[in-house]
Symmetry: C2
Subunit: 141 residues, 2 copies
């Protein structure tokens, strides 16, 4: 999609970098520990040329970085950068919406590793502490 | 993208309904008060056939509903349902990622209407109160 990065809106600019389901699912898999091309390919059932393209874009845009894990033949794996790690709240927000509005039977669940309780993602405003959607928002240019 | 709705993952199932930049930007515009076809078209610079398709899908999937605003000729506008309103945390999470990782100059800002302070979206786990990413997560089938 063209020109999104030039829009005066951070949502549009963000979507110009990560704005399709494949890219988001690659980031999901990277957060669950996958790093190698074949792992992503099997997990996603994605056409290899498409996966190559998406991994290259996520690397160029700074969400993933390559790490050499084999010298002969040369093989790189893909690991999350800080920017990629910071994408986790987006994935959890999508998960949270799905909990309420998709068929939630037979799905993987995200548990707090220490308490074992399923994570219930809530987006709050750091300043007021109030959940997003409970207070009026004003949008300014 | 096919078969996402059959994956045992709510992120995939959610992305099978809202999984492209146009749909997310339509929801962004709906949250900022736009309701009519021509408003979305002007805001997004989207090809009309594409906009028609996306609005129909979001309506069929229950994030938007149509409301008749003119009888002769018949004209419908598109308003958020509860499901569509619940999508706001996803948009704010994307906005929050953009604040940290995109060019944030000359952008629209989301202010708390009462305090006038820019919203800083933070995703927390309702049970622990901890920001997502600060505690270990376990994924279970």
């Amino acid at each position: 999609m063209k020109n999104l990065e030039a829009q005066p809106c951070l949502i549009a600019r963000s979507l110009s970098l990560v704005g399709d389901a494949w890219s988001m699912l690659i980031l999901r898999d990277a957060h669950s520990g996958l790093t190698r091309f074949d792992q992503f390919r099997r997990s996603l059932g994605i056409v290899p040329t498409m996966l190559t393209k998406r991994l290259a874009a996520l690397t160029q845009d700074g969400l993933l970085e390559t790490r050499r894990y084999n010298d002969r033949p040369p093989r790189d794996e893909y690991v999350l950068t800080q920017s990629g790690r910071d994408y986790l709240p987006v994935l959890l927000a999508i998960q949270g919406w799905g909990q309420a509005h998709c068929n939630a039977s037979d799905v993987t669940r995200f548990l707090d590793d220490e308490t074992g309780i399923e994570i219930e993602p809530v987006m709050i405003d750091k300043h007021t502490g109030a959940p997003i959607g409970t207070r009026a928002i004003r949008i300014t240019a």
